[in-house]
């Protein structure tokens, strides 16, 4: 659906050239929800804004639905943009226009008639659950409601792609949830491809199919969300995941413990098996759980436990080996 090839974006400032996006190649499939995470300044926003040419890439190609955006003339680009919806962190609604007119503006841009606007806007307001706010001005809406208007505006011309620029970062947690479930619903019902950038791992965990982690303008890690969460390869990815799955033990617990501390990650069906109790029955070790959590990432369980194993060192070694074989994922944090 979206194909990015060797995309590069440089900014010229008074202090010289700053690289926003550094040679990024990426393919986003039709109908998937793709998350891009990274700290501010990592280039994720630049990358997203290159996808509808709000920013002109310095070099490289951006293809959306088979069209190379860089080759388009002004008028063609405007038409292409009508098929790429975009929502923003700060909503960017027109304060002098009612909710209806804000959404209708997008339809007007596509040259729709008054009658078409009327019926389409009514339909969109129903979709985002704001039918009663039709003639209200944005200043009278809450943040979540404003974002719903933003979504309705972005969906006005039946786009194939929706770009979300930190769409939930200005919202409180419960509003974030409701906006995310709306996005998920749109994704399923309309088959819309969604690209979202965020610094909140919670968002990625909830709705994304795949994720790319960015640093210094490059993609450092990319993969299915579940895989990245269960087996991150980069330190940066780990630190992001820690924001949702934090397993740092307090210093005094580590000092006090006398056994071997292991971190076991159970992926998928293994999480539903009785691995730990099997291990304890098989070997002469005592297990003491220090930390643990089972997260459901899009319905698939991901269990992470930190255990202290006590007993003879040979038994512990064998037990650890056993765990490693069963779970494919064991990390020894501290040996006795």
């Amino acid at each position: 659906m979206i194909r990015v090839e060797h995309l590069k974006k440089e900014y010229t400032t008074k202090k010289g050239t700053v690289i926003g996006v550094n040679d990024v190649s990426l393919t986003i499939e039709r109908g998937e929800i793709f998350g891009i995470v990274g700290y501010s300044g990592a280039g994720k926003s630049s990358l997203l804004r290159c996808l509808n040419l709000l920013e002109k890439p310095t070099s490289g190609n951006v293809q959306v639905d088979g069209t190379n955006l860089g080759n388009l003339k002004e008028k063609e680009l405007r038409e292409a943009r009508q098929k790429i919806g975009m929502i923003f962190q700060h909503f960017y609604l027109v304060s002098s226009k009612t909710v209806f007119d804000n959404i209708a503006f997008a339809l007007k841009a596509a040259g729709k008639t008054k009658k078409e606007m009327e019926s389409k806007v009514t339909e969109l307001l129903e979709l985002v659950g704001l039918s009663d706010k039709r003639d209200v001005f944005p200043s009278q809406l809450s943040g979540g409601q404003k974002q719903r208007v933003g979504i309705a505006r972005a969906l006005a011309n039946d786009p194939k792609v929706l770009l979300c620029d930190e769409a939930t970062s200005a919202l409180d947690p419960s509003t974030t949830k409701s906006i995310l479930s709306l996005l998920k619903k749109i994704n399923l019902d309309l088959g819309l491809t969604i690209v979202l950038i965020t610094h909140e791992m919670e968002v990625v965990k909830d709705i994304c199919d795949r994720i790319a982690v960015m640093e210094n303008g490059r993609i450092v890690e990319i993969g299915r969300v579940y895989d990245v969460f269960s087996k991150p390869t980069q330190e940066l990815t780990r630190s992001f995941i820690n924001s949702v799955l934090d397993f740092d033990l307090p210093e005094h617990i580590l000092k006090k413990s006398t056994g071997t501390i292991v971190k076991i990650t159970f992926q998928g069906s293994v999480a539903e098996e009785s691995v730990v109790s099997d291990m304890i029955q098989k070997f002469k070790v005592k297990g003491n759980i220090l930390h643990g959590k089972i997260e459901y990432i899009q319905g698939t369980p991901l269990g992470i436990f930190v255990m202290e194993l006590k007993g003879e060192s040979t038994e512990i070694a064998m037990a650890a080996e056993y765990l490693r074989n069963r779970t494919q994922n064991l990390e020894v944090i501290q040996n006795d």
Partner: protein, 220 residues
């Protein structure tokens, strides 16, 4: 005193209409020319959808140049142009030419400033839905800047009332001119005070109306 006021009435009446006449004409022209000019100054700026550095520089320079000329000099310097346009160099119509020329750059800068107040993201969102530049100007920029533009109109109108006093130099007439000729040159305090009071009331009224309209149109 009542007597002298009564005698003054026909003159005052005429002067009042002359002031209104000059201000309205130049205000109309300031809107017709200054509003598009202000929009152009804004949209040709860096990182905007009609970015055009050379045009922006030329327009900016011209506007600054006209604004830096003292009005009284502009009034005289523009006499040939005035003659060309109105066929005369005296009277309120003639004075309206110089008033308009002074008001256009003044108002256009105010329009530009009001547009600058708009959050860039709102403009970007409009670009992202595929709107044409003309649609963005007409449906986003002008409505969003409307409260600021109306306040700018109030400011321009009041400045014009002030400038119109100088129109007397070329026989433009108006209340200000009356105040100078009768009140100042002839030491007639009654005329002086009356005209000043009328001017004060006029300015207050314009400000009051402007604020009111700006408030009604402000949906932020």
């Amino acid at each position: 005193m009542i007597d002298s006021l009564f005698n003054l009435l026909p003159d005052l009446n005429k002067a009042f209409y002359e002031t209104i006449y000059m201000v309205l004409i130049s205000l109309a022209i300031a809107i017709i020319v200054g509003l598009p000019l202000g929009v152009l100054l804004f949209v040709t700026d860096k990182d905007l959808f009609l970015e055009n550095r050379p045009l922006k520089s030329i327009l900016g320079f011209t506007v600054n140049m006209i604004r830096s000329i003292p009005f009284i000099i502009l009034l005289v310097a523009l006499l040939p142009l005035t003659n060309l346009i109105t066929g005369s160099t005296i009277g309120p119509t003639a004075a309206s030419v110089s008033l308009s020329v002074a008001a256009i750059p003044f108002f256009s800068r105010i329009v530009e400033t009001s547009l600058r107040e708009i959050n860039k993201g709102i403009i970007e969102a409009a670009v992202a839905v595929g709107a044409t530049p003309w649609m963005i100007i007409k449906d986003i920029l002008i409505p969003e800047a409307r409260p600021g533009i109306i306040q700018g109109l109030t400011l321009t109108t009041i400045s014009l009332v002030g400038y119109s006093a100088m129109a007397g130099i070329i026989g433009g007439g108006g209340i200000g001119d009356l105040a100078i000729r009768f009140g100042y040159y002839r030491y007639d305090n009654t005329v002086m005070v009356t005209t000043v009071v009328i001017l004060i009331c006029l300015v207050q009224l314009i400000q009051f109306a402007g604020d009111k309209i700006a408030r009604i149109t402000d949906k932020r």
